[in-house]
């Protein structure tokens, strides 16, 4: 009887879905190593960190390792680069793949030198036997070495032996970037390159009444004017000609619009039909005491990448080649196929870096736009760059949110019951989350594809409910998530997802309760928190900032704390901020203590956390997507100010390394603690409680009233 003996083993990280070692690594006879991550660089330094992991496990110098950036058909399919999961997924895969490659090389070397592999040691790819004799990786490798399924059995190095992982290896990409060399997809150029622009509707649901295209066709340099439904575009020989043609086309288009957007206040969410899930419920000892409640909101927030989205595309022989800065080239390809009416195999997508995106911005949309227009370019390569106003008006935003809290505080100053309700749209509409399409142009075509629903990634990470369940220990607890379908503005993933608003609510409310209990905010948190790593970051940041318990601000200067364990399962972050209250709020100093498990690249981690903090201060103080009943009204940086050089605080970050624990991502998780710390500092300074993000001058005035 045949016995089914091919039980599929679980493999670590992204090896699970890309099981062949040769998908990840080549050991080359010329003394180099090639690695092929499916994850992509978005300014977070991931490629540098992955290279450190491979160099460590293989025992070769960093300089030997070349990185092939992601392209469909060649690179492992690692889905999307997001959620600070790259180290957990790609890093772990590389760690095991490289450890196994090393074992295979040692086995070959042992056979060749006639010794057991215990006799062997490796230094920069040279394998030496204790009894003399040596051979290098480059002598014994060949094309077959890694053509095999990973076993996951090779044991990675103990962290005690690390020489490269954990150090501050300099980023591989920075020298080129600061030299001005062409590194971004925006910089691609080939002889005969054409330039394209899209002319968008004035608002989401606007209907095209008429458009004069002939007039545009006659303009200098114009190669083609394209209309497919309400998707309008131009192609021209020169970039400035494409821009002028696009402006004329936009002027020539007559649209019918109506009021389709809600009031400019996140509380519109409370009036809509929601799908409600109770996501945490604890019933312990009966609770009694004083009752408190709170309500917190945040407006829609934009990614606002410094570079509007850009893609390059070519259509030749019925096949598309596309270069874009998408975070997920495989899901994008699957989503582009039906919009272009070709099988996915007829599309090749190369990842080329763009500017920082901080989540799902228009990087996917622009790829479809470029491919659609490339069809009209007679085999020539087309470069399409979104304009600034287009990026502001059409990128997917992070959903507005409303959070309500209620708690019971015992006479002993202990929280005995905690309830929280979250209202939001879904926080992801990335490609590949169908049914339907999540690419902007696909909705505008003559034969439109239906818009896919915005959804939430499931818990424990969660979307709108990310960090909605408190990490504190309360005997009674109930947390409900109210998910509202059909966002009136495009909504998708932005750094931290729902965690900014949820942590803002929890940590503001904790301060309000601490005040009611007459207890210092840090002492109050610690009395409700058992988790030792959580306590450690809070205690650390208190020491860094020389926190004085129960100290009150002087009307202008104040200090506040915010804390969270990102996604309830990733990095611990505690932050203290100092603010000065004048006409507006100025954040002058931030201290942060961070524990993200094992540190791969200490300076890369600091860079990520510092950047996340400064951006989070900008989110908290300034940023909101403005709209009226018909249109999103963002057009320029004047409408969407961000923190400037003379407004940035001093930031001090302490890293707590846990080399024995798994490494966790760090790009996110600062947003919630910072928002709460700023609000708590304003209260500390002047007794004004801010409930609505962003904390602009207008909101400050409202809160004072």
């Amino acid at each position: 009887m045949a016995i089914e003996n091919t039980v599929r083993r679980n493999l670590p990280g992204s090896l699970e879905t890309n099981r062949n070692l040769s998908q990840w690594l080549d050991i080359n006879t010329d003394g180099t190593v090639t690695m092929r991550p499916g994850k992509i660089e978005i300014g977070q330094g991931i490629l540098t960190a992955l290279r450190q992991i491979v160099a460590e496990e293989l025992d070769v110098n960093l300089e030997r390792i070349n990185i092939v950036t992601a392209v469909t058909a060649l690179s492992p399919n690692e889905g999307v680069t997001s959620g600070s999961r790259s180290i957990e997924e790609s890093g772990v895969a590389f760690r095991y793949a490289a450890a196994e490659a090393r074992e295979l090389l040692l086995a070959r070397a042992g056979a060749k030198l006639g010794v057991s592999i215990e006799q062997l040691s490796v230094s920069d790819g040279v394998i030496t036997s204790r009894s003399g004799g040596s051979v290098s990786y480059w002598d014994i490798t060949d094309g077959d070495l890694l053509k095999r399924e990973a076993t996951g059995d090779a044991k990675p190095k103990s962290h005690m032996l690390y020489r490269i992982v954990g150090t501050a290896a300099p980023r591989v990409d920075i020298p080129r970037k600061v030299s001005g060399a062409p590194v971004y997809v925006h910089d691609m150029d080939v002889p005969g390159l054409l330039h394209a622009r899209v002319s968008r509707p004035p608002s989401y649901k606007a209907e095209l009444v008429s458009v004069d295209m002939d007039d545009v066709r006659k303009m200098p340099g114009v190669v083609a004017v394209v209309r497919d439904g309400r998707f309008l575009g131009v192609i021209a020989e020169r970039e400035e000609q494409a821009i002028r043609a696009q402006r004329r086309l936009t002027r020539n288009a007559k649209w019918k619009e109506g009021p389709t957007l809600p009031e400019f206040d996140p509380r519109y969410l409370l009036k809509l039909q929601a799908k409600t899930d109770v996501i945490s419920e604890k019933k312990g000892a009966a609770s009694s005491g004083r009752e408190f409640s709170g309500e917190y909101t945040r407006q829609f927030l934009a990614h606002a990448s410094l570079a509007p989205s850009c893609a390059v595309a070519k259509f030749e022989g019925g096949k598309f080649t596309v270069w874009t800065h998408s975070q997920g080239i495989y899901p994008l390809r699957a989503e582009m196929a039906p919009a272009l009416g070709v099988p996915a195999e007829d599309i090749v997508i190369h990842h080329v870096e763009g500017a920082g995106c901080y989540g799902h911005n228009a990087a996917d949309d622009v790829a479809l736009d470029a491919a659609l227009l490339a069809r009209g370019a007679l085999g020539r390569t087309v470069r399409l760059q979104w304009m600034r106003d287009e990026e502001f008006a059409w990128e997917p935003y992070s959903s507005a949110m409303v959070v309500k809290t209620r708690a019971t505080l015992s006479d002993a100053g202990q929280i005995t019951d905690w309830q929280m309700d979250v209202w939001s749209h879904g926080h992801s509409s990335r490609p590949g989350r169908g049914p339907g399409s999540n690419l902007l142009a696909a909705w505008h075509l003559e034969k439109p594809l239906v818009r896919a629903q915005t959804a939430n990634p499931p818990l424990p990470g969660g979307g709108s409910h990310r960090n909605a369940i408190p990490i504190y220990d309360f005997p009674n607890e109930k947390v409900s998530n109210h998910l509202i379908p059909d966002p009136p503005l495009r909504a998708s993933a932005l750094r931290g997802l729902g965690s900014q608003t949820n942590v803002f609510a929890i940590e503001s409310f904790m301060d309000e309760l601490a005040l009611a209990a007459g207890v210092d905010p840090i002492a109050f948190r610690l009395r409700h928190l058992k988790d030792p790593r959580g306590r450690a970051v809070i205690e650390k940041v208190a020491a860094m900032a020389k926190w004085k318990p129960n100290s009150r601000g002087d009307g202008a200067n104040g200090r506040g704390i915010g804390f969270a364990r990102y996604k309830n399962g990733a990095g611990y972050m505690a932050m203290i901020v100092d603010i000065v209250l004048a006409e507006t709020i100025r954040v002058t100093h931030v201290w942060a203590a961070v524990d993200v498990g094992q540190i791969i690249n200490s300076d890369g981690l600091l860079n990520q956390v510092e950047g996340g903090i400064i951006q989070a201060v900008s989110f908290a103080l300034k940023e909101e997507v403005k709209y009226d009943r018909e249109r999103v009204t963002l057009k320029s940086w004047d409408d969407y100010p961000i923190l400037s050089f003379d407004e940035v605080p001093e930031v001090e970050v302490a890293l707590i390394n846990r080399p024995e624990l798994p490494p966790l991502g760090a790009g996110e998780g600062t947003q919630g603690p910072i928002s709460a710390a700023v609000a708590n500092a304003v209260f500390n300074a002047a007794g004004i409680r801010l409930h609505d993000i962003p904390f602009t001058r207008e909101r400050l005035i409202t809160a004072m009233a």
Binding site: G43, Q44, D173, S179, A181, L306, G356, Y358
Partner: protein
């Protein structure tokens, strides 16, 4: 006969017409891709170049306004092999996340250091007031500019 400009010491006959923003001439005719588009509105500084010793947002000037002038872009101050002290300081301080803002900021900083060898923190911040960085790399960038100033005084 088209307009003439000088880019990093090299003469260029401009093919674009007069109203074309200098940015597109630099990127697409002179091949200076380190001059970057961020807004086209003079608000973000990604496209900053130096003309007559002053930092200029090249998206915000028609090429005709600089006819006959000499323009310095980031490519003109150093290279990967021979970086300018500012470029070296950005590497030493690891002052980039995505790096998209870096070249424009380096040019604003260069225009400052060329006239003020020991700027105060406030002067550096003021000189960078027209440059945006979305990744939040400000603190490292300020350190890099200070480091470069020290190097250049040596």
């Amino acid at each position: 006969m088209g307009m003439q400009i000088t880019v990093n010491g090299r003469a260029l006959s401009v093919a674009a017409d007069e109203e074309t923003p200098l940015l597109y001439v630099l990127r697409n005719e002179a091949g200076c891709k380190g001059v970057r588009y961020g807004c086209g509105l003079g608000q973000c500084g990604s496209c900053t170049v130096i003309i007559d010793g002053k930092p200029v947002q090249s998206c915000d000037v028609p090429v005709s306004a600089v006819a006959g002038k000499s323009i310095t872009t980031v490519e003109g101050i150093g290279s990967m092999d021979e970086p300018h002290p500012l470029q070296r300081a950005f590497v030493d301080e690891q002052a980039a996340q995505c790096g998209y803002c870096a070249t424009g900021i380096i040019m604003s900083a260069k225009a400052l250091l060329d006239v003020n060898a020991s700027p105060s923190d406030a002067e550096i911040k003021a000189a960078l007031s027209k440059n945006l960085c979305r990744c939040g790399t400000h603190q490292r960038i300020l350190r890099a500019v200070k480091r470069a100033a020290i190097e250049m005084r040596k």
